[in-house]
């Protein structure tokens, strides 16, 4: 079933929509949650929460592109669960590595964390992504949006893990330079 039909079913409050959603995006959401949480059972819980959130948010929302919409909800549920479980623990997980890598980009900068700053930052990141070759952009997004492991990215992109690591390292360095040039890093 295409996405438009699923959204229509949701608007019609037809429970069949959830079955279709699960059939089409269940594994997609599960993978996103699993990347963050690392535990399949926890990821399952997030996926179920995602279905409920989608059900509650459509309507009034009517997303034009469903995968990012659903994926974001799954990711947010997974991050909430991750935060609860890791409130006092650190180190070891895939997501921790992702955070540490991104620490490099933003290292040493203390922001006011305002909504305006975040909006500017997002705008620069979108521009930065637009300048990247498609394959490099996919690597960046797989790592820092989907939180894929380097190993998974290498397999997906048919590259060596070394090359993926080097590419990520360079993209982080380049992003940091752009942020500095744009005055977004002190």
């Amino acid at each position: 079933m295409d996405d438009t039909s699923i959204v229509k079913l949701l608007w019609d409050r037809c429970e069949q929509a959830l079955k279709e959603l699960a059939a089409k995006y269940g594994r997609f959401c599960h993978k996103i949650a699993l990347n963050i949480l690392g535990v399949s059972e926890d990821a399952e819980e997030c996926v179920n929460d995602t279905y409920l959130s989608v059900w509650n948010s459509i309507p009034p929302q009517r997303p034009s592109v469903l995968p990012p919409y659903v994926g974001r909800i799954a990711k947010n549920h997974a991050l909430n669960m991750y935060n609860k479980k890791h409130a006092e623990k650190r180190g070891g997980s895939n997501l921790t590595l992702v955070f540490e890598e991104l620490d490099e980009v933003i290292a040493g900068y203390e922001s006011a964390d305002s909504a305006l700053y975040r909006q500017e930052l997002l705008s620069v990141i979108n521009e930065f992504l637009g300048t990247l070759p498609s394959d490099k952009r996919k690597i960046f997004v797989r790592r820092y949006w989907y939180a894929d492991s380097v190993k998974d990215i290498a397999a997906r992109m048919h590259m060596t893990e070394n090359n993926v690591s080097v590419s990520l390292n360079r993209m982080r360095s380049r992003l940091r330079e752009i942020l500095q040039e744009g005055g977004l890093l002190s």
């Binding site: 997609f28 592109v65 933003i106 997002l122 997906r156 993209m171 940091r176």
Partner: protein, 272 residues
């Protein structure tokens, strides 16, 4: 702002990039029979609570049996090894007397033929941590010598174990052309299944290209700081993998990798 905050910002990137990166996954565009693997409630409880408990109980039983059979428990006679092992931190060599470096002959530039990170080191050969630091085998591109050391005053005690707070990577380019270096230090932990998994990644501060160049005949020392929150990761089976990429930057395309190779410094070098 920290990496986590940046991760949150990246969460809101343009949908088209998220879709693009998800395209080839086979999950977004090939939904056939793609259902969430949902375990039944009872099975989930068994998998999540009962099985781990049973495994833990079995492990405890094995340990107890091991202790009993070795004579520590029960009425067997115990013969203790009274060999004194030095544990004084002052015996740690300093970086001013770097460990012996190994220069290997030039090799083909096959990055996968370097020492694989999954190569295991027998636990029985673990050196006492006071033998630390040591320099392990190296594998590299061209005529180059690499060693890793820890300055003596940078060893700190964590839960009774000396751990490094700083690593120094010394690269000497003995060839005739410059080397551009990009390195990643990864501390790996050994899981219960024997597999090595990344526990933490250390890198030096981001450096411009020109500073990454080790000119012909020159030596470069790269210092890497380790965060205190990572000190406890060194306990138990751990190893440091040092992954160094040599490459030539393309001035027209900074994302392009013209040449890339890597080597790994094996576990034995940094067992604690």
């Amino acid at each position: 702002m920290k990496g986590k905050d940046l991760f949150d910002v990246i969460n809101d990137i343009d949908d088209k990039y998220v879709s693009e990166a998800g395209e080839e996954a086979g999950a977004v565009t090939s939904p056939d029979t793609a259902k969430v693997p949902a375990a039944k409630p009872f099975l989930r409880i068994v998998k999540r609570y009962i099985l781990p408990g049973a495994v833990a109980a079995a492990a405890l039983g094995l340990i107890a049996f091991g202790i009993w059979s070795s004579g520590v428990l029960g009425n067997k006679t115990v013969s203790l090894d009274t060999t004194t092992r030095p544990t004084n931190a002052t015996e740690v060599p300093t970086s001013s007397t770097p460990p012996e470096s190994t220069t290997l002959p030039s090799r083909p530039t096959d990055d996968t033929t370097a020492m694989p990170p999954t190569e295991s080191t027998e636990a029985t050969t673990l050196p006492d941590h006071t033998e630390y630091p040591s320099t392990g085998p190296t594998d590299f591109h061209g005529d180059c010598t690499i060693s890793v050391s820890v300055p003596q005053d940078k060893m700190v005690e964590k839960d009774g174990v000396l751990v490094p707070s700083v690593l120094e990577l010394t690269i000497t380019n003995e060839g005739e052309s410059p080397l551009y270096v990009e390195e990643v230090f990864t501390l790996q932990k050994q899981g219960d299944d024997g597999e090595w998994e990344d526990g933490a990644v250390f890198r030096h501060e981001t450096m411009p290209f020109k500073d990454r160049c080790v000119a012909a005949g020159e030596t470069s020392v790269i210092t890497v700081g380790i965060l205190p929150e990572h000190y406890d990761l060194w306990s138990g089976p751990a190893r440091l993998v040092i992954n160094v990429h040599f490459y030539e930057p393309d001035p027209d395309d900074w994302t392009k990798i013209l040449y890339d190779t890597a080597f790994y410094m094996k576990a034995a070098d940094f067992y604690l």
